[in-house]
């Protein structure tokens, strides 16, 4: 918000006094670019960062640990959100189905446990055990990874394809089109996207939206 008002003020100043000064317009331009970078987050086609985050079993997990993987289904999810809970069983099924095909699920809890106590590391362990998660459930301690990806809500999927040592974002969005009823799903967006990758195609759609729980920071 400060950045925005700064931009607004700079614009005002620009209009009033320095209409002809090129260097100032350059400054505003770079400020604008800076702001759009700050807004952050990946788009399809971007290279995704690797990370080293703690799993519920106490070990640290990085994408680079998976030498044989063809890609990753990175899902920002958590304990407290009813949408995340509604998708737990489906995430387990997707992991079981695609792990052996080279696309394992990596779940990351992006929430600050001070704001959502049920999303604490201890409670993550409890939930992972209760549900029998077949995939790593990592804690984004310090909330440094989710803003780089641009996760906005839980659950929020980033499908990555491995290209040499890079991880290229191929699909961003929802798991499917029906949070309420897995049996009534008509568009399994994520599975369609993975199937497309495995067939050597780009997913279509490669970006979808869904209602989810806000990822809150202090």
């Amino acid at each position: 918000m400060n950045g925005y008002s700064l931009l607004k003020n700079s614009k005002k100043l620009f209009n009033q006094k320095f209409r002809k000064m090129k260097n100032l317009s350059l400054l505003i331009f770079s400020l604008f670019i800076g702001l759009s970078l700050m807004a952050g987050g990946y788009e399809v086609g971007d290279k995704a960062t690797d990370f080293k985050l703690k799993d519920v079993d106490g070990t640290y997990v990085s994408l680079s640990d998976y030498e044989d993987a063809n890609g990753f289904i990175v899902i920002f999810t958590c304990n407290h959100c009813p949408y995340s809970v509604a998708y737990e069983d489906r995430i387990i099924e997707i992991d079981k189905k695609y792990k052996n095909k080279g696309y394992p699920v990596i779940a990351i809890n992006p929430n600050d446990p001070d704001l959502y106590p049920s999303d604490s590391y201890e409670n993550m362990k409890v939930r992972a055990k209760e549900k029998g998660f077949t995939f790593p459930y990592l804690f984004d301690d310090g909330q440094e990874i989710y803003p780089q990806y641009g996760a906005k809500r839980t659950p929020h999927v980033f499908l990555l394809d491995k290209s040499g040592s890079d991880y290229i974002v191929k699909y961003i969005g929802a798991i499917d089109d029906n949070y309420a009823d897995a049996d009534a799903v008509e568009k399994p967006y994520l599975e369609d996207a993975i199937d497309a990758l495995m067939a050597g195609n780009d997913p279509d759609p490669d970006f979808t939206k869904a209602i989810g729980c806000t990822i809150k920071t202090k």
Binding site: R153, Y189, I211
Partner: protein
């Protein structure tokens, strides 16, 4: 013997009448309680869409929330205060719950009751959000709370949390 039967039947009658009175009273109070809680319609997106497109002199504030959404609940008092401040003016608040429909009785209605909410509340149950989120606003990521403020001259969409003062400033400039 006869007298005893008589008094027994009086006692029975009295018991019966008391029972009936109690039942009637319970029924009435139950009815009253029901009346104080508004009906909350469960709408699909097609049914809900007209709320986004009213074309008249009123300024509409459409807040998307849910009982499970902590920031939504935190800012709810600001919206309720706004509604009471502008009641009687060309202002309309609509609280669009995105709770799951099976939580209507167990979560939404108790919340409405506990907070004496008289503002209009609807429950939007539209599963393929990808097909309708952009129809609310193309900038909406899908997280809540979000708020749409519009009238026939202007339209603004906010993916953020508000204080009462911030809301009042926005609405005041439009009314």
């Amino acid at each position: 013997m006869k007298k005893k039967t008589y008094s027994f039947s009086i006692g029975l009658k009295a018991l019966l009448i008391t029972g009936m009175l109690l039942f009637t009273f319970a029924f009435i109070s139950c009815e009253n309680q029901r009346e104080t809680v508004q009906q909350i319609p469960v709408l699909n997106f097609e049914e809900f869409e007209p709320y986004l497109k009213k074309n008249n002199d009123t300024t509409y504030v459409i807040n998307f929330w849910a009982t499970w959404c902590k920031p939504c609940i935190e800012e709810m008092p600001a919206f309720l205060k706004l509604d009471s401040l502008y009641s009687g003016q060309k202002f309309k608040l609509v609280l669009v719950s995105l709770d799951f429909p099976d939580k209507l009785e167990s979560q939404v209605i108790p919340y409405i009751r506990e907070n004496d909410i008289e503002s209009e509340v609807v429950l939007l149950h539209a599963t393929d959000a990808n097909s309708w989120i952009n129809k609310v606003d193309s900038n909406w990521s899908g997280a809540i709370p979000v708020t749409l403020v519009y009238n026939k001259n202007s339209r603004e969409f906010y993916e953020r949390i508000f204080t009462f003062e911030e809301l009042q400033e926005i609405v005041q400039s439009k009314i």
